[in-house]
């Protein structure tokens, strides 16, 4: 009975194809995670020529746009940049003085020395094609000193963490991905919590949750949230975002806040990897 039913349901070639595909998937599922990760990088490497092509075309479009800009606009932009540069240079001198003072005071008190960040600029080349993850590929890899678990930032604040690294490219898990959890603290009250995402929101992909705050927490909308440095992955003090609203959770035992990210995750073009 079953044989007749199966005979009418599937052709012989369909059985063979089904068997082969299932066998392939089962073999893949038995491969150790590290080997699977290497295989993923190797298969992803097939896209390298297209990444290069995409980057070149992007540069060409930008150059074409720059050629079309009138001279007066360029002169105006140049003046603005010169002014900004001078202001930044003065700020940098001030900052250097404060840094040296901080170093001296730390030495006197016997606190651990703070290291300066060593940054590596990278361009975002692609994003995760699946709607249920938030990740991106950048054009910096192991030859540029990028290693897994390094923090990725932009001028506005924290962007994410390096997940896997190949020779010339790396995958970055972005803030808002459920696999990324960041130890954070509220800047004013110094209360610590965990930044994470529990559900997707296509229209609000720049919002995350700050969980595990104490029940009697005094956090308020508008306060800044920064990395706390706990866990050792993210350096302390990187801006994450601002609190939008706060609500009590678990019958008042803990507090949860929604945080609007400082970095515009949806439109990232250039990021910095903190390589040291």
């Amino acid at each position: 009975m079953w044989g007749r039913f199966a005979g009418t349901m599937f052709k012989r070639s369909h059985y063979i194809a089904l068997f082969l595909v299932v066998l392939f998937v089962v073999i893949l599922s038995r491969i150790p995670n590290q080997t699977l990760g290497n295989m993923k990088l190797a298969i992803g490497g097939m896209f390298l020529p297209l990444f290069g092509l995409a980057a070149t075309s992007h540069d060409l479009v930008q150059k074409a746009g720059a050629t079309a800009l009138p001279r007066s606009v360029l002169v105006e932009q140049n003046d603005q940049l010169r002014q900004t540069n001078e202001t930044m240079t003065i700020h940098l001198q001030q900052y250097e003085g404060v840094w040296r003072e901080n170093e001296r005071l730390r030495r006197l008190v016997g606190w651990q020395k703070q290291n300066r960040w060593s940054l590596r600029l990278a361009h975002v080349i692609t994003r995760d094609p699946a709607n249920w993850w938030r990740s991106a590929h950048i054009d910096a890899g192991s030859v540029d000193g990028v290693r897994p678990n390094q923090a990725v930032v932009c001028a506005e604040g924290l962007v994410g963490r390096v997940q896997s690294v190949s020779e010339r490219r790396s995958q970055v898990i972005l803030l808002g991905d459920p696999e990324l959890k960041v130890a954070a603290m509220v800047d004013v009250s110094r209360e610590a919590g965990i930044v994470q995402t529990t559900s997707s929101s296509p229209q609000e992909n720049n919002m995350v949750d700050l969980d595990f705050l104490p029940g009697n927490s005094d956090v308020r909308p508008g306060q800044d949230v920064k990395t706390s440095g706990d866990g050792g992955v993210f350096p302390k003090g990187i801006p994450i975002g601002k609190i939008v609203d706060v609500r009590s959770k678990d019958y008042g035992l803990s507090t949860e806040a929604r945080v609007k990210l400082s970095a515009r995750i949806g439109s990232l073009e250039e990021v910095w990897v903190i390589v040291q």
């Binding site: 699977l36 080349i125 699946a130 249920w132 990740s135 995958q171 459920p178 997707s200």
Partner: protein, 183 residues
Amino acid sequence: MNYLNTIFILVVAFLAVFAEAWFDVIRNLIGAQIDLLPALIVYTSLTNSIFSTATLAVCGGLWFDSISCNPLGVSILPLFLVGLAISQSRELLLRENAFAQCVLGCVASAICPLLTMFLILNIGHNPLLGWESLWQLFIMTLGGGLLTPICFLLFDRIHWTLNYQPIVETSFRADRQIKRGRN
């Protein structure tokens, strides 16, 4: 031509996966990315052998997972199962009708992400999931449905360009010509 056709499909699948990762205007506008692989699976299963469908499911799935955070290989089975179901009943389907193609594309584009999500959750991963995922599924379904007839048009065009054109013989024969007149 059959092998060549499979190669064309694989090339289009490769470019489609890259385009999904690179082109994010739709995602930024409406909050969801459209998947092109289910539309290609519908085309392949309706016009090619089951082994071409299996090859596309394996290669397309591996390419998609390699560029995404999906565990490697998780997209293969959903793509293949959809292709197998369509291939099995393709004699009953109006495969040359654009509306039928559109409906099949919609169904395939809805089932593939659902099956993939089911597998990912069963493996123990924690993807972004919420009420808003229904909106993403709707966009993927609609987008896949609209892209399927375009897929058929594209490959028909490739066939028309690269295949030998059939020689159309006229029914005219000089020895059978009826000559009218008084002679």
